[in-house]
Symmetry: C2
Subunit: 157 residues, 2 copies
DNA sequence: CCAATTTCAGGTGTACTGAAATAA
DNA sequence: CTTATTTCAGTATACCTGAAATTG
């Protein structure tokens, strides 16, 4: 820890480039910031919106499945869903074949909310991808998917 | 265990591929999950660790600058820093030239913590980038940086 | 006075651990 | 009995709005 701390105020203590871990985080923070603002009138957060889109694509998931998909505990996911259910954006029904599980689905109001904000969210994605051609976009999607796969393969999950 | 592998072929409500916005979020969630686990013994969260690394690279930032860097309000950043200061991982000193501002710096304990966890964090990054060659990594870094730039140029911030 | 930074007060959302109830 | 899912209770953190104090 014998690092030199010379400048008091005009700092320039660069210790190499920010990591890719950090770059991912930065993009996610920027996206969330825009998304939260965009969704403000709806009263739901970026995270809640994300959960709705997952349910839209994969209707009938259980709380536990959704939690694993988002790398959080089932309790954390249950908290989030409580808010969405209170606003009647999702419905919960016991699975008759496996009465432990609760199947989640969008209500009509939930689907309507996604319809309403879909265009603005797509414009946000378009803003992020400004000046990227089709090849760049494909590369980005591919690289991100490989990151996700590598992180979920080995340990944990 | 084979009985629960019912596939959404029946539901068939696929509404296109997940967006790139979602892919970014997924990678970030996976990273945070690993990072939180890895940092557990230290008692600090992935978010707090990230703030420490930013201060390591750019010593002497103010709360407001750090907040803008992370796309949150100064109040939210102050909350986070309160925890780090309580554990004496950072120090706060009034800027003599501008007595409104408070300059933030790592303490020796803060730097030691980064030193201690640095190798494990780099291994995590390596896990994420498994099987990506140097060209892929460069592409990913470039594409993410362009995303960040596009999101911060136009409106907001 | 105006603008930027920080802080205080308060409220909600996010996420965890631990533990219990239920059912396959 | 064992395991998976869900829920309850409690706690720490993250993030916001609004307002006040300070300084440039």
């Amino acid at each position: 820890m014998a690092s030199e701390q010379r400048q008091p105020a005009a700092a320039a203590m660069d210790t190499g480039p920010p990591s890719l871990l950090y770059s991912v985080k930065q993009v996610e923070l920027a996206v969330r910031s825009h998304l939260d603002e965009l969704l403000r009138p709806s009263g739901i957060t970026a995270l809640q919106y994300t959960a709705l889109t997952v349910l839209h694509r994969r209707s009938g998931l259980t709380i536990a499945e959704l939690a694993r998909n988002s790398f959080v505990t089932p309790q954390a996911m249950a908290d989030l869903l409580k808010v969405l259910q209170r606003r009647e954006l999702i419905s919960r029904t016991r699975d008759p074949d496996n009465r432990r599980q609760v199947r989640l689905r969008l209500t009509e109001a939930g689907a309507a909310l996604l319809d309403h904000y879909g265009p603005a969210v797509r414009r946000l994605e378009e803003l992020m991808l400004t000046e990227m051609d089709a090849g760049d976009r494909e590369s980005l999607a591919d690289l991100l998917n490989r990151c996700r796969a590598s992180l979920t393969r080995g340990p944990r999950l």
